[in-house]
Amino acid sequence: MLTSLFPNVDWEKMWEATYQTLYMTTISTVITFILGLAIGIVLFLTSPTQLWANKIVNFLTNSIVNIFRSIPFIVLIILLIPFTKFLLGTIRGANAALPALIIGAAPFYARMVLIALREIDKGVIEAARSMGAKTSTIIWKVLIPESLPALISGITVTAVALVGYTAMAGIIGAGGLGNSAFLDGFQRNHGDVTLMATILILVVVFIIQWIGDMITAKTDKR
């Protein structure tokens, strides 16, 4: 049945490509989460009236975030080729896509983190300060837990965007489902391969969205 509908699909290759997409998405999502969270917290705490209020640091961080957020991803990959080569010694394979994926997604996520942190009631931070909390305690025990649902739904959106980015990275040789759709499907004129790759990408996206929504709902006690 499947073979007759998708005569040109090499299933082993397809699973391999799916695995690569999942690998790139997972690793880049995890690192984006950590990096974006750190940048978002710096953006938040250095903004006026906050604990580390600092115009210069805030301006610089903000500028970097905005610059990297504005560069189209496909251009970013090309711009980062020398950097990737220096870092990993190659520009091919799933790992070679990671620097571009992370640098492309982290500023995007940092922005979402900032929005999430701004939603926290100022009074709660004030209460923690009035109890004698250190800034690190405020970060770990107030800022992150109190914005967790928004942080999770933000990383879900980012992970879905990253699946899209991996497909683009695939076109320049990173492997994954984007690579299959382009090289095996489009260039060899096998429409069924492109279709199968699309279906698999959709399944990955739906699963990510479902997991994200579930965790968001579970962490929200408001």
Partner: protein, 342 residues
């Protein structure tokens, strides 16, 4: 316990400099419940935040519990804050934590080991009357219950001073009274010094020993609550006192009486302390040939004694009425003629 010396606090705003607190000197005793009353924008929020270093004065020194909050920084300030805790108008609980986890938060900050934390949290839950709600999240609690969590949290590290930032302003009257009773109970049982800010004279009347009235950043009047009720000096103080005594209801009654009984004299009598228990009115009727009808009356209990007002209509010959008023003055009842129909 608390000393404020020559405190001025200025803010820089887009419209120039704003003086939130101006030249304030204040001393609050250990074990006292001290109220600061004022309308919003009077500077009372800034005042209370000076007491735990959330705000630093532009000039002057703030000493609380032998710590100079106006100058200490870093770890020393954080340690000092554990002994000067605060409750808030909007409770400011962590919604991500249960009741017991919220109460445990200041203990975590203080580095109390887990086993001791649990024991202390259970103690506090009982103290504030939240038994059975330990595992609930703030979103599942009523306003009054949330404030109880706030109070338990504030008491966790055995503070010397409790600061209340409009702690009852978001609550309904009944819950307000329950929370105020709890504060008095804590004050008496633990010997805690309580400083509260409010815009409701009811709160001052019900639990404060002394009061300071703030207007435009300055303390315009201060003293024992009873004395301030009895003889308010500043216009704004009179306004606050009338929140309790001259309710709209009273004003309507007086208007009604004036219309219905156009004769005689309407007199407001103010009784303070022991005078509230004396049979002044029956003396009046017996000794002077006047008729007295009661228009309106109320008695308010303050921390230092009762405070009552009575509005009566006195009918009789001019001389007799004058004699009656003189008598009232000799028994140290304050008299205020509201309307003279004659």
């Amino acid at each position: 316990m608390i000393q404020l010396q020559n405190i001025t606090k200025k803010y820089k705003t887009v419209n120039g400099e704003l003086t939130a607190v101006k030249d304030v000197n204040l001393s609050i005793n250990k074990g006292e419940i001290f109220g600061i009353i004022g309308y919003s924008g009077a500077g009372k929020s800034t005042m209370i935040r000076l007491l735990n270093g959330l705000e630093k004065p532009t000039t002057g020194t703030v000493t609380v519990n032998n710590q100079e909050f106006s100058s200490i920084k870093g770890q020393k300030l954080r340690d000092a804050r554990q002994k000067v805790s605060m409750i808030f108008q909007h409770f400011n609980l962590l919604w991500s934590r249960t009741v017991e986890e919220n109460i445990a938060f200041p203990l975590e900050i203080a580095g109390v080991p887990k086993a001791q934390r649990e024991a202390r949290v259970n103690e506090l839950i009982t103290l504030v009357g939240l038994g059975g709600r330990a595992k609930a999240y703030p979103s599942q609690l009523s306003g009054g219950q949330k404030q109880r969590v706030g109070i338990a949290r504030a008491l966790a590290n055995n503070p010397e001073v409790l600061l209340c930032d409009e702690a009852t302003s978001a609550l309904d009257p009944e819950t307000t009274d329950a929370i105020l009773d709890l504060l008095v109970d804590i004050n008496e049982r633990l010997g805690l010094t309580i400083v509260l800010i409010t815009h409701e004279m009811h709160v001052i009347r019900k639990i404060c020993h002394r009061v300071a009235v703030m207007e435009a950043g300055e303390i315009v009047e201060r003293g024992e609550v009873l004395q301030v009720f009895q003889a308010p000096q500043a216009t704004i103080t009179k306004k606050f006192v009338s929140q309790i005594t001259d309710t709209k209801e009273t004003q309507e009654t007086v208007a009604q009486i004036k219309a219905n009984y156009p004769t005689g004299q309407l007199v407001k009598l103010i009784f303070v302390g022991e005078k509230t228990e004396q049979p002044v009115i029956s003396h009046l009727v017996k000794q002077f040939d006047v008729e007295v009808s009661i228009v309106h009356g109320n008695i308010s209990q303050t921390k230092n004694g009762a405070y009552g007002t009575l509005i009566v209509q006195i009918n009789g010959s001019k001389d007799n009425v004058a004699d009656a008023l003189n008598y009232l003055n000799t028994v140290e009842v304050q008299t205020e003629v509201i309307a003279n129909a004659n």
